[in-house]
């Protein structure tokens, strides 16, 4: 996958345009929520970031599967980048989620938010991914072990989600409810715009990161070839 197709420049430009459009939709067009007031606007950035994190982990897992199926080294780089970006967006989910919790309920954390707890578990899991990766010597073995772990990650996502829901039955936390926004048309539009722009942004970041790593790897080979 070279930096050329589909044209990264085009994608980045579209992403920039979408972000601008979304900002307008969110702050100008979408009405303020009757219950939560202005702080409801965090929803437009928090939920798309969470969805993007899932998408990145999914991408990482798909590339991981390709690593195992084809033994292609290029997929290892792409899988790693997917997991890497997923973790970044995962942390962002936790942070924006905490800010939103503070704004809505006055606490920085609540165990009753299934999504926040799920992301905490995933954060722990994927941090371990990096520890694993950097403890193993680079080579085909590391590629395979990382790939297997990334695949376990996506299996863990639904399983953990069920576990967390089940856990709520007996942990009896102080339940904070947040009425799912009865979204007006404009709000839904703003949400979709935001979701599309953040997803596209993440994809552009992914492509840039992969290209950077690939150039790095090629240069190393080139250096070795030139110095012999």
């Amino acid at each position: 996958m070279s930096i050329a197709k589909p044209s990264l420049t085009a994608l980045a430009s579209i992403a920039a345009a979408l972000v601008t459009l979304s900002a307008v939709l969110i702050f100008v067009i979408a009405p303020e929520d009757a219950d939560q007031g202005f702080s409801q606007k965090i929803f437009y950035v928090h939920v798309p970031i969470a969805l993007t994190a899932y998408a990145c982990f999914g991408l990482g897992a798909w590339k991981a599967y390709r690593v195992l199926a084809t033994r292609g080294e290029r997929y290892d780089l792409e899988s790693y980048t997917g997991v890497h970006l997923g973790t970044i967006f995962g942390v962002l989910t936790l942070v924006t989620g905490a800010i939103w919790a503070k704004a809505s309920w006055g606490v920085w954390w609540t165990w009753s938010s299934n999504q926040l707890v799920l992301f905490l578990v995933l954060f722990l899991f994927y941090c371990a991914y990096f520890m694993l990766r950097f403890s193993v010597e680079p080579g085909p073995r590391r590629e395979r072990i990382s790939a297997v772990y990334a695949l376990f990650g996506v299996a863990l996502i639904p399983v953990s989600f069920f576990a967390i829901r089940l856990a709520n039955d007996f942990i009896h936390p102080t339940v904070f409810t947040r009425e799912g926004p009865q979204m007006t048309g404009e709000m839904f539009f703003a949400f979709c715009g935001s979701w599309a722009s953040i997803t596209l942004l993440a994809y552009v970041m992914y492509r840039v990161e992969v290209a950077g790593k690939r150039i790095d790897a090629n240069l190393r080979e080139l250096r070795e070839a030139l110095q012999t």
């Binding site: 702080s39 939103w100 240069l219 080139l222 250096r223 030139l226």
Partner: protein
């Protein structure tokens, strides 16, 4: 700014800052790659070009 606005600003702000930090890290990486390609170009210039037979 009301407190609601502060939180919204914080949430969006964190997102923007993280993306910018990512850009900064990539920029640093890019300068390093730029320097390395320069060094490799030097190395390559120092060698005889392929197919250059110095037989007079």
């Amino acid at each position: 700014m009301s407190s609601g606005e502060k939180y919204v600003a914080a949430a969006y702000g964190v997102f923007v800052v993280v993306v910018l930090v990512w850009v900064a890290i990539l920029a640093a990486k890019l300068s390093r790659l730029e320097r390395e390609t320069g060094e490799l170009a030097q190395l390559a210039r120092g060698r005889p070009a392929v197919g250059d037979h110095a037989d007079g």
